[in-house]
């Protein structure tokens, strides 16, 4: 189902949505793109990927899980209530939307993480087509169409004077159909709204199928992993900004008479990540880098039939030593 709407009416529709939900949109705060509460005076335009990925809105860097009150004689535990309140995220990019789907089985399979599942349930995902290739990105190589997405509730394409809207979910259909702001559109009109992506590469950097096979084939090649990880300084910024990295730590904060247990981001780049009492299976840097690349492109694929990378390019542009994942993947695919 396809719809269209003028920018003015879209603002009106979002204003209506604001009565029942927080609306988050991309905005530049202190020079950095981020998703933040919007006053909806204008619609976001010409924005690039946020520095911190929207994963943090679902899997925050710090999440209180439970608390306790203790005295000499007793200890009472209380579970942190799952997050509530409806939200809508406008301007979600296809890569970041896919990342949320990739994380679903991690948090929902076998043992359901109620914090993640509630955050998904309470959020309306409003995707928006990209108009320019983000610096460092390789989304198309990862099989993501920067102008389309099935991982959101509604997906918007901007054309002069209008937004074309693809209705993806029932939830999206119910909300968009609730007023008379949207007009009917067609698949033909939708397809005609396809734009040339500014700065798009003529041909892909590498073949994902070759990367998937190559990561496993290269696994025993210690020299290869030593070489490609040589520059890495184990800062972990790639894992913190990555929309699909999900490794976490559990840690306690004790205050007088009470305490809180948190879940917080952790990183496989850190030497202490797998350190045990008597040994550390990934003490050497090349092993940790190999783990990260293989977890994403080999092991995750074996377990969940999708790679854990969307090609957003955050790790590429924010790496302090210019360790370019694209070059590593190219070397693997060779």
């Amino acid at each position: 189902m396809y719809l269209k709407i003028t920018p003015k009416k879209l603002i009106q529709w979002l204003d209506g949505l604001k009565a029942q939900a927080e609306v988050l949109t991309p905005a530049k705060v202190d020079g950095v793109w981020t998703y933040t509460l919007s006053d909806l005076q204008t619609l976001p335009q010409h924005y690039f990927n946020s520095r911190i990925s929207p994963k943090s809105l679902f899997f925050p860097s710090l999440q209180a899980l439970l608390g306790w009150r203790s005295s000499d004689s007793s200890l009472q535990l209380s579970s942190t209530p799952p997050p509530d309140g409806q939200r809508a995220i406008l301007g979600l990019r296809p890569c970041d939307a896919r990342a949320l789907r990739i994380l679903e089985p991690v948090f929902l399979k076998d043992y359901q993480d109620v914090f993640y599942s509630q955050n998904l349930l309470r959020t309306l995902l409003l995707g928006q087509a990209c108009q320019a290739q983000c610096e460092g990105s390789f989304c198309e190589e990862m099989g993501i169409d920067p102008q389309d997405s099935a991982d959101v509730d509604l997906f918007f394409r901007e054309i002069p004077g209008r937004y074309l809207v693809k209705v993806v979910t029932e939830k999206g259909k119910n909300l968009a159909g609730a007023g008379d702001l949207f007009e009917e559109s067609s698949e033909k009109e939708w397809n005609a709204g396809q734009r040339e992506i500014r700065g798009r590469r003529d041909k892909p950097l590498f073949d994902l199928e070759r990367v998937k096979a190559g990561a496993g084939e290269r696994f025993p090649d210690e020299d290869f992993w030593r070489r490609v990880s040589d520059k890495c300084i184990n800062c972990g910024v790639c894992t913190y900004l990555c929309p699909t990295c999900h490794c976490f730590d559990l840690c306690d904060l004790q205050m007088p008479g009470q305490g809180v247990r948190f879940r917080c981001f952790d990183s496989c780049a850190f030497p202490g990540f797998t350190k045990m009492a008597v040994h550390n299976p990934r003490e050497e840097k090349w092993r940790r880098y190999r783990q990260r690349v293989n977890h994403k492109f080999n092991f995750f694929y074996q377990n969940f039939q999708t790679v854990a990378c969307v090609g957003c390019g955050r790790c590429v542009i924010h790496c302090p030593v210019n360790l370019d994942l694209r070059e590593v993947l190219l070397a693997i695919a060779r």
């Binding site: 991690v106 004790q254 879940r263």
Partner: protein, 282 residues
């Protein structure tokens, strides 16, 4: 989707009371614990080889196997060597103190494959803890198994855990018990030598036998080699692996060996499975 846990906070532990603390060695203690909630004492069940996450609130959680047997459910036991932050905090606790408990997690020893077989247990140091759960289990259902041999080693006589069990097993005519230490003392009557060496010396038959081993990684590595020398095939050898874990739920991402999560696909693996591992990082 696991229906039982849906909607619940999967990180929330149950509260347990410490009902007894047994000093094992200079740096190892066994804790006897019981659910605060009476109904859980009845409904809780596990299988030998499974583990749990234990909390000292304010210090954090750590992973230990359940070292008591599912056949002896008056309370649960776990054994802890003092090495880091949480284990230090646990060692400060006394009878009557409260801890958190999440579990049981992971797979378990393959009881169905052990039935009607000779069993060979090979333990080292605190690695005896998971084997002890299974040994008590098979002793309590003795008729299901054939000959049972237990080989247990530690650095010195003072480092042997579960001395009360060793005595009882040693005095049990239906079990063969061998103890060894790296360095003995004047009173030591057992063997002297590393576990894999003593194993090759006592030469247990591999015929119709399943070997189950746990100990420090270096001991496991050499014990696996010795077992192969003795004619054990990879499907006759089982071990339980230790990896750093935080969640125990297959999510936090640190116990991976290749695509496997030790917390969910393990901790119990056959040598046959281990030989197929993509990675040697364990």
């Amino acid at each position: 989707m696991n229906e039982q846990v849906q909607g619940k906070n999967i990180y929330q532990p149950y509260l347990m009371e410490i009902i007894k603390v047994v000093p094992e060695t200079g740096d190892t203690k066994t804790f006897h614990i019981q659910f605060q909630e009476a109904s859980l004492r009845e409904s809780f069940s596990f299988v030998a080889g499974q583990f749990a996450e234990y909390s000292v609130f304010g210090e954090g959680e750590a992973t230990f196997c359940i070292s008591s047997s599912p056949t002896r459910m008056s309370h649960l036991e776990f054994s802890v060597k003092r090495v880091g932050r949480v284990t230090h905090a646990l060692h400060q606790l006394n009878e009557g103190d409260t801890i958190g408990f999440r579990g049981p997690y992971g797979n378990h020893f393959p009881l169905d494959k052990l039935k009607e077989k000779n069993l060979l247990f090979i333990g080292g140091g605190i690695g005896m803890a998971p084997l002890r759960s299974l040994i008590h289990n098979v002793v309590d259902t003795r008729a299901d198994y054939r000959e049972i041999t237990i080989l247990y080693g530690a650095r010195s006589p003072q480092d042997l855990c579960f001395q009360y069990d060793l005595e009882s097993w040693g005095g049990n005519p239906s079990l063969e018990m061998v103890t060894t230490v790296d360095v003995g003392d004047d009173n030591w009557k057992g063997k002297v030598g590393l576990v894999p060496m003593v194993l090759e010396e006592i030469k247990p038959s591999s015929k119709e036998t399943m070997a189950i081993t746990c100990g420090p990684p270096i001991m496991i590595r050499y014990t696996l080699k010795s077992l192969e020398k003795l004619g054990f095939t990879p499907s006759q050898v089982w071990t339980t692996l230790e990896m750093k874990m935080k969640c125990g739920l297959g999510k936090c991402g640190r116990c991976n060996i290749g695509p496997l999560y030790v917390c969910q696909d393990g901790p119990v693996f056959s040598l046959e499975e281990i030989k197929k591992f993509t990675s040697d990082e364990f």
